[in-house]
Symmetry: C2
Subunit: 312 residues, 2 copies
């Protein structure tokens, strides 16, 4: 059975504080504290693990906040194999202060990680990947990481016969395409901003020309478009949903990785992605309907696949 | 050599975030994160350890935040022997968000601690205390602790021949006096609020009548007053200082505990406290001049003793 390896280079301990009414420049007593394992790749892993798929997580973890993250993940999703690379720098926290009006966010910066830590992470991935496995790379890089370390990691993973699916933005999106990632998954803003293209299809063409195998661009309520050497396929839900879009992109990455991991080696990768695009739209929609990133209702996701319209 | 055992029932990991300008109901990027081991008893231990005095810390510690606190304390004050009682509940955090205008505080509640944890803490203290040692008890109790557990702990500690110095407020101040604490150290507001007395000397009389050996009341810029069966002694600095009063009370507790621990057993306890009152005023003053609670300039503290006026 093939495994999906979910890399979160910059994970976070997500903390929610409930207060009566948040006051600036005053002392606020927190009524209630909730903690969750956070980071885009962690969400991808949780969605897959909830389906019973073999999944492992990777990334940099450090300090007491890192230990708490790993402990919470083991509790919420015991099926996930945790293969974190331990670093001295404490894992960043995000704090959401929720009062009766709205939410105030405090986001810590990711602490810098050194070249030896990147080497250890690459080694951990290479040691675990088998041909046919899929490696997802999600979210931002820690401070001070340059493109070379990401490109090196992608090349090493691909040399094991595993496929790479990168959900990154900015320079890291271009780096992933240049390094030959099998799939990159930007959203509309990310693809236009990174490539400077004036429309999404032009941006997809630019990324393919750089060297990635396929591009899946997520377009919010307009669904998703897959582009590759074989052409374009697009899919969208037959209606517009209201809800919480946080985690929708991660659910889409989970569906695409799942499709790639299940595809027979004789199957064309574009064909597998094209089939997975329906799940990607449906799982994203289920994530929009879920109050919590990283958790989707599996029955709802399955039901939503019947409401996806595909256009070749 | 006698040891001072510093108990912090409700320690905290103190986190400081620096942001450009804190905005309510928006996303704030934290520029810089600092973490410090926090809690009043931790401050007492740090002041004593910086003087080279034998000191150990006790209290409840849990989760990743607890591990981080213990790690930071080992780094900042390697001389302190850490004898925490580990509990499942994560240690509370306090977050100070500092921007160019002022500070916004977010204080987590202390998580509840069970009777078995209190029993383990009492046992850890009893096993370490020797006659002539001093146990300081500083700050609030965790959620759900009733007076009985504190009273039981004080009686067990006193049965070892160690002296108890309690810096608590509200019900816990009355409980400490009732349980026969050797010294209680409320501030002016705390003594008036807990006893309902109309002035400090009347409040001191009420606490002595309940059963404690002596009372040291701290009166801010009016100095301190010691009351016992032998009468009253007061001490104050010969001038008013401006600075940061956080940690001043903890420095006073450190000085009083130090005085008690150094006193010969044949010396009267009131005499030892009366002599230590000068240091208590001087160390408090040094704490007011220090930007950070738990850290005082030892040379400055020694110099300030010459500026203390005593009135019997």
């Amino acid at each position: 059975m093939t495994t999906v390896h979910c890399l979160t280079p910059n994970p976070a301990l997500d903390i929610t504080y409930r207060v009566a009414s948040m006051r600036l420049h005053a002392v606020n007593r927190v009524r209630d504290v909730e903690q969750r394992p956070g980071g885009k790749g962690v969400n991808v892993a949780r969605v897959l693990s909830a389906r019973g798929a073999p999944v492992a997580t990777y990334g940099f973890l450090g300090g007491g906040a890192g230990d708490t993250l790993a402990g919470l993940l083991a509790e919420h999703a015991p099926g996930i194999v945790q293969r974190w690379t331990r670093v001295p720098a404490e894992t960043r926290r995000t704090i959401a202060v929720v009062d009766e009006t709205d939410t105030t966010m405090l986001n810590e910066p990711g602490r810098p990680v050194g070249p030896a830590d990147w080497a250890a992470l690459t080694e951990a991935l290479a040691a675990s990947c088998a041909p046919g496995d899929v490696v997802t790379i999600s979210g931002s890089l820690p401070q001070g990481a340059d493109g070379a370390v990401l490109a090196g990691l992608i090349r090493v993973v691909r040399s094991t016969g595993a496929a790479v699916l990168a959900d990154t933005s900015g320079e890291a999106l271009l780096t992933a395409a240049d390094a030959g990632a099998d799939v990159v998954k930007p959203n509309r803003d990310e693809i236009l901003e990174a490539t400077g293209a004036s429309d999404v299809r032009e941006g997809i063409g630019q990324l393919l020309a750089r060297g990635c195998g396929a591009v899946v661009a997520s377009l919010g309520s307009d669904g998703m478009i897959l582009g590759g050497a074989e052409g374009f396929v697009s899919a969208r839900l037959n209606r517009i949903l209201r809800g919480n879009p946080t985690g929708a992109g991660d659910a889409a990455v989970a569906a695409l990785a799942h499709g790639l991991a299940l595809a027979s080696p004789s199957h064309s990768r574009f064909g597998a992605l094209s089939a997975a695009l329906v799940d990607a739209v449906a799982w994203s929609a289920a994530a929009v309907l879920s109050p919590v990133a990283g958790e989707i209702d599996q029955a709802e996701a399955a039901q939503l696949t019947f409401d996806v319209l595909v256009q070749e």
